[in-house]
C-alpha cells in the first residue's frame, strides 16, 4: 500500500519538469497532494481505526460474556457502544472507502490525479485531528459521549465535558467527507479519459459518484443537527427541548434524513467493488451493467424517502407509518436486481477462487442475509417487536461487516499487487478468508435469535436466558478480531517487506479489465499524465 516512491523511469519523456520527486520522510506524507499517497494514508488511517473500534467491541463483548457487571460501569459500557459506532463508521469504513477512491477512481477513469489535490491533502489531514479530539474524551472527567452514535436529545444533552468535543469532531469529519466527495464528483465529471462516456465508466467509479452526491447532500444536514444540539446545550435555544417549545422527535427526523443515506454511503462503494471483482474471476463481463447503474441510482434516490423506518416506534401517524413502510420495502427491488446480476455474472463463467473472489462471493451471500432481515424490519407492525433489539444489531452488522468491510478487504486484496508491485501471500489470504467468514457468522448470527427472544440493544447486562447466545457471540468476536492480524501481516509484507517477493504483472489477474491494469505494477507515482486511449477491450461490459 505504501508503494509510491518516485519513479523517474516510468517511460515518460515530457518537456515539463520532473526533476524532483516527493519530499523524503515524514514531510512527504504531510505535504503530499498525490492521490496515491493520500489513498495510502487514508487506508492506514482506516486500518488503525478498525483496530481501535474493534478493541472497543471486544470490551463490549467481554462485558456481555455473562449476566452481571464484571468489568465496566454501565456508563463506561455506554461510552464504548457509542464510540465503537462513531469510530467504525466515520473512522473505519468511510476513510477506507475514501482511500480506495483516492487510489482507484483516477486510475480506473484514466485521470492523472484527483481534480483538487490540495483539498485532498486537507481533507485527509483533518481526520487525525478529528479522531484525536473524539478519542481524547475518554480521558476527560466524566468520560466519552455515552448517548449512542445516534446522539438523540435530551439524553445527549446530559453529556458532560466531552459534548463540545463530540460536536466539533463531527464537524471536522463532515468537512473531511464533503471535501473528499466534491473531489470525486469533480474528477469523475471532468477528468475521464477521452472516449469514456458515463455508461462506459467502471462500476467502482459509478458507485463512488453516487456515494459522493449522497455525502454532499447529507453531511451538512448532520452538521446542522449537531449545531442545534450545541446551541440547545450552551446558548439557551430550544430546538429539541420540549419544555421550551422544541421537539425531540424533530432531531430524530433530521438525524435519520442524514442517517439513512449515510448507511448507503457505507455500502454503495462495496457494490462497486464487488461488481468489479466478480467479472474478473468469473472471466465473463458483468451481467446487466446498465441495470447495475440504474439500481444504484434508485437505491440512492430511495435512501432519501425512507428515513422514518428508523422511527417506527416514535409514534408517527398511521399514514406516515404506511408511507415509510412501503417506500422501505421498495428498496428490495433494486437491491435484488444487483444480487441477481452478480449471480448471473457467475453463471456459466469460468471461475477461480483467489482471495478477492472469495470475499466477493461471501459478500453476496452474507450481505443478502442482512438484506433479508432488512426486509423483515421494513414491515412496521413486526418492527415493533424487532426495533432496538439485537435483531437490529445482527441486521446492520451483517450489512456492515460482511458487507461494507468485506468489500474493503476484497478491494485491498484485489488491487494491492497494483499498488505495491508484488503479490500478497495467497495461502495466508485464504486462511484469513475462511477464518473471517466462519467467525463473523458465529459472532452475528446468534444475535438474531437473542434479539427475537427479547434482548434489547445497548444494554450492559441482560436476563440470564440470553446467556448462551451471548457467549457464542463473544467467542466469535474475539476470534474474528485476532484473525484480522493475518490480513495486516499480509499487507505489511507487500507494503514494507517485499524484497525478494515475486513481482506482479501489469494485468495481475488474467480476467481483469480496466485502465488500471494498463499501467505497470507497481503503478508509477504519476499515471495517465497523457490521457489514455479508451478501447472497447478495456470496457467489455459496455458493448
Amino acid at each position: 500500500m505504501a508503494e509510491a516512491h518516485a519513479h523517474d523511469d516510468h517511460g515518460h519523456d515530457h518537456s515539463h519538469d520532473h526533476a524532483h520527486g516527493p519530499d523524503k520522510g515524514i514531510m512527504r506524507w504531510i505535504k503530499t497532494t498525490n492521490h496515491k499517497d493520500l489513498g495510502t494514508l487514508y487506508l492506514w488511517f482506516s486500518a488503525t481505526m478498525f483496530i481501535i473500534g474493534g478493541l472497543m467491541s471486544l470490551a463490549i463483548r467481554a462485558e456481555l460474556w455473562q449476566p452481571g457487571m464484571q468489568y465496566f460501569d454501565p456508563e463506561l459500557f455506554n461510552q464504548f457502544t457509542t464510540m465503537h459506532a462513531l469510530v467504525m463508521i466515520f473512522g473505519g469504513v468511510m476513510p477506507g472507502f475514501v482511500g480506495l477512491a483516492n487510489w482507484m477512481v483516477p486510475m480506473t477513469i484514466g485521470a492523472s490525479d484527483l481534480a483538487l489535490p490540495r483539498v485532498n491533502n486537507w481533507g485527509f489531514w483533518i481526520l487525525p485531528f478529528a479522531f484525536t479530539l473524539l478519542l481524547s474524551t475518554f480521558f476527560l472527567p466524566g468520560g466519552a459521549p455515552a448517548g449512542g452514535w445516534t446522539i438523540y436529545p435530551p439524553l445527549v444533552l446530559q453529556t458532560g465535558n466531552s459534548f463540545p468535543l463530540l460536536v466539533f469532531a463531527i464537524h471536522l469529519m463532515g468537512i473531511s467527507s464533503i471535501t473528499g466527495a466534491i473531489n470525486v464528483v469533480v474528477t469523475i465529471l471532468n477528468m475521464r479519459a477521452p472516449g469514456m462516456t458515463l455508461l462506459k465508466m467502471p462500476l467502482f467509479a459509478w458507485s463512488w459518484l453516487i456515494t459522493a452526491y449522497l455525502l454532499i447532500a447529507v453531511m451538512p444536514v448532520l452538521a446542522g443537527a449537531v449545531t442545534m444540539l450545541l446551541t440547545d446545550k450552551y446558548f439557551g435555544t430550544s430546538f429539541f427541548n420540549a419544555a421550551g417549545g422544541g421537539d425531540p422527535v424533530m432531531f430524530e427526523h433530521i438525524f435519520w434524513f442524514f442517517g439513512h443515506p449515510e448507511v448507503y454511503i457505507l455500502i454503495l462503494p462495496s457494490f462497486g467493488i464487488i461488481s468489479t471483482i466478480i467479472p474478473t474471476f468469473a472471466r465473463k463481463p458483468l451481467f446487466g451493467y446498465a441495470s447495475m447503474v440504474y439500481a444504484m441510482g434508485s437505491i440512492a434516490f430511495l435512501s432519501f424517502i425512507v428515513w422514518a423506518h428508523h422511527m417506527f416506534t416514535v409514534g408517527i401517524p398511521l399514514a406516515g407509518e404506511l408511507f415509510f413502510m412501503f417506500s422501505t420495502m421498495l428498496i428490495a427491488v433494486p437491491t435484488g436486481v444487483k444480487v441477481f446480476n452478480w449471480v448471473a455474472t457467475m453463471w456459466q463463467g469460468s471461475m477461480t477462487y483467489e482471495t478477492p473472489m472469495l470475499f466477493a462471493v461471501a459478500f453476496v451471500f452474507l450481505f443478502s442475509i442482512g438484506g433479508f432481515s432488512g426486509l423483515m424490519l421494513a414491515l412496521a407492525p413486526v418492527d415493533f417487536q424487532y426495533h432496538n433489539t439485537y435483531f437490529v444489531v445482527a441486521h446492520f452488522h451483517y450489512v456492515l461487516v460482511p458487507g461494507a468491510v468485506f468489500g474493503i478487504i476484497a478491494a485491498v486484496y484485489y488491487w494491492i499487487p497494483k499498488w505495491t508491485g508484488v503479490m500478497y501471500n495467497e495461502t495466508l489470504g485464504k486462511v484469513h478468508f475462511w477464518w473471517s467468514v466462519i467467525w463473523i457468522n458465529v459472532t452475528f448470527f446468534p444475535q438474531h435469535f437473542v434479539g427475537l427472544a427479547g434482548m434489547p440493544r445497548r444494554i450492559p447486562d441482560y436476563a440470564v436466558q440470553f446467556t448462551d447466545f451471548n457467549q457464542i457471540s463473544t467467542i466469535g468476536a474475539f476470534l474474528f478480531f485476532i484473525g484480522q492480524f493475518v490480513f495486516f501481516y499480509n499487507i505489511l509484507r507487500c507494503a514494507l517487506w517485499r524484497t525478494g517477493m515475486k513481482p506482479a504483472t501489469a494485468r495481475v489477474w488474467e480476467g481483469a479489465y480496466g485502465l488500471e491494469w494498463t499501467v505497470p505494477s507497481p503503478a508509477p507515482y504519476h499515471t495517465f499524465e497523457d490521457p489514455p486511449h479508451v478501447t472497447d477491450a478495456e470496457s467489455p461490459w459496455a458493448h
Binding site: M69, G160, G288, T313, V314, G336
Partner: protein
C-alpha cells in the same frame, strides 16, 4: 413402478422418504418455533398473534428466495469453476430476464405489504378502550397511573437484582429469579379488556416494550404516545426499556400482571384505599380521603412504595400533622429508597461518580443545614432531577436521614413535617 430398475427405484424411494422426512422436520420446526427461546414469542393478544404470523410469513418468504437464489449461486460456484467449465460464456445482458426479476420482487412485496398494512391499521386503532393507563418514563423507573382511578405508583428494578447487578457484586445473577425482568411493583391489568396506554417521559426518551403484548413505543418528553392491548390469558409478562436512556438503561424492567376482572377490581379498590399518592395528580382525587380504610394488599406485587406512606398521613395534599418517626425506622426506609432512587448516580457507597455525580460522603449539602438538603432532593439541581413529585414527605425524610447517618456522615435526622413545610416553597 414395474419398469424401473431396482437402483432407480431405490433412488426414487429415498427421495420420497427424504421429502417426507423434510416435511416432518419443517412441521416440527414450525411447531417448536412458537415460544422457542430463540424466536419471537407468539404472545397473548390477538395483535401479537398477527404480528407473530407476519414475522414467520416474512421469514419463510426470505428463506424460499434465499434457497432459490443461493442454490443457483452455489451450483454455479461448483459447476462453473474453471476446472469444470474452462471456457466462459460471453452473454452479459438479457432484457427479458432483467425485467422479470424486477417485476417478480414487486409482486412478492405486495403480498407482504397487504397483511402488514392490515395489522398496522388495527394496532393504531386505540378507540373504545375499557381503561386507560398513563405510563411515564423516568431515569430509571416507570410510573403507572390508572387514569380517573386515582391510583398511581412507581415501578423499579426488584431489590435482589439491583444488588446483584452492581459492579463486582459477587452475587450470581442466576440465583436471582427473573434477573432484570422483575420489578418491585407490577402493572396490574384485567384480562379481556381493551387497555389503552398513554406513554410519555419526564426526562429523556425511553422505550416501553412487552414482547408478549407486541406493544412497543417510545416514551418521549413533550409527547403522549398511544397504544393498546387486550390480553387474552392471565399471566405475568415481562419486558424492559428499549431506548438508550443513560447509565441504567439496562435496569428498567417492565412487568405486566394480567388477572381476572374481579381480581383486578379488588386490587384496584385496595389501591384506592392504600394509595397515598405522592404524585400530586393522584393526591388531588377523592381517593386521598380513603386512607383510613387502608388494608395490606393481597397481591404481593401491589405493595407499592406509594402505599407505604399511607401509614403516616404525610401526603402533600393532605396537610395533616405528620407523625414523628423514630431514627431506626427512618434509616431503614431510607436505605431502601436510597438503593432504588439515589444509588444509580451517587452509588451505594455514597462516593458518587465525579464529576457528574458528586459524592455524598462529606458533602456540604448533606453535612449542611437540613433545609438545603431537603430542598435539593425535592427540587433537584443540574443533572439531578426533582424527586418531589416521586417521593412522599416520609420518603424524603427517610432518605435524607439515611444520607445524614451513613458513610461517616453524622448530621442528624429529618422528619416528614420538615419536608412538608418546604414542599411547595
Amino acid at each position: 413402478m414395474p419398469n424401473l430398475s431396482p437402483r432407480v427405484n431405490l433412488v426414487l424411494r429415498s427421495i420420497v422418504a427424504a421429502l417426507l422426512g423434510l416435511g416432518t422436520f419443517v412441521a416440527r420446526a414450525a411447531d417448536t418455533m412458537e415460544n422457542a427461546y430463540w424466536n419471537m414469542p407468539k404472545g397473548v393478544t390477538e395483535i401479537s398473534h398477527r404480528v407473530w404470523w407476519l414475522h414467520m410469513y416474512a421469514f419463510w418468504i426470505c428463506v424460499v428466495i434465499g434457497v432459490l437464489v443461493f442454490g443457483v449461486m452455489f451450483y454455479s460456484l461448483f459447476a462453473h469453476r474453471r476446472s469444470k467449465h474452462p471456457v466462459p460464456a460471453t452473454f452479459h445482458e438479457s432484457t427479458t430476464v432483467e425485467i422479470a426479476w424486477t417485476i417478480a420482487p414487486f409482486i412478492i412485496l405486495i403480498a407482504m405489504a397487504v397483511p402488514a398494512a392490515g395489522t398496522l391499521i388495527k394496532m393504531y386503532d386505540t378507540r373504545n378502550a375499557d381503561l386507560t393507563i398513563k405510563i411515564t418514563g423516568y431515569q430509571w423507573k416507570w410510573q403507572y397511573e390508572y387514569v380517573d382511578q386515582g391510583v398511581s405508583f412507581f415501578s423499579t428494578l426488584e431489590s435482589k437484582a439491583n444488588a446483584a447487578r452492581q459492579l463486582h457484586s459477587g452475587i450470581d445473577p442466576k440465583t436471582v429469579p427473573n434477573y432484570l425482568h422483575d420489578a418491585d411493583n407490577y402493572l396490574i391489568l384485567p384480562v379481556g379488556k381493551k387497555v389503552r396506554f398513554l406513554l410519555t417521559s419526564d426526562d429523556v426518551i425511553h422505550g416501553w416494550w412487552v414482547p408478549d403484548l407486541a406493544v412497543k413505543k417510545d416514551a418521549i418528553p413533550g409527547y403522549i404516545n398511544e397504544m393498546w392491548a387486550k390480553i387474552d390469558e392471565p399471566g405475568t409478562y415481562r419486558g424492559q426499556c428499549t431506548v438508550l436512556c443513560g447509565r441504567d438503561h439496562g435496569f428498567m424492567p417492565i412487568v405486566v400482571k394480567a388477572v381476572s376482572e374481579p381480581e383486578y377490581e379488588q386490587w384496584l379498590a385496595q389501591q384506592k384505599g392504600a394509595n397515598a399518592a405522592p404524585a400530586p395528580a393522584a393526591a388531588a382525587t377523592p381517593a386521598a380521603t380513603e386512607v383510613a380504610g387502608a388494608e395490606p394488599a393481597p397481591i404481593p406485587a401491589a405493595s407499592a412504595p406509594a402505599a407505604a406512606p399511607a401509614a403516616d398521613a404525610a401526603k402533600p395534599a393532605a396537610a395533616a400533622a405528620p407523625a414523628k418517626l423514630g431514627h431506626d425506622e427512618l434509616v431503614k426506609n431510607g436505605e431502601k429508597i436510597y438503593a432504588s432512587t439515589c444509588a444509580a448516580c451517587h452509588q451505594a457507597t455514597g462516593q458518587g461518580m465525579k464529576p457528574a455525580f458528586p459524592a455524598l460522603v462529606g458533602s456540604a449539602v448533606v453535612a449542611g443545614p437540613v433545609d438545603g438538603h431537603i430542598t435539593q432532593i425535592l427540587k433537584g439541581k443540574n443533572a439531578m432531577p426533582p424527586f418531589g413529585p416521586q417521593l412522599s414527605d416520609a420518603d424524603v425524610a427517610a432518605v435524607a436521614t439515611y444520607e445524614r447517618n451513613s458513610w461517616g456522615n453524622h448530621s442528624g435526622d429529618v422528619q416528614p413535617a420538615q419536608v412538608a413545610a418546604l414542599r411547595g416553597k
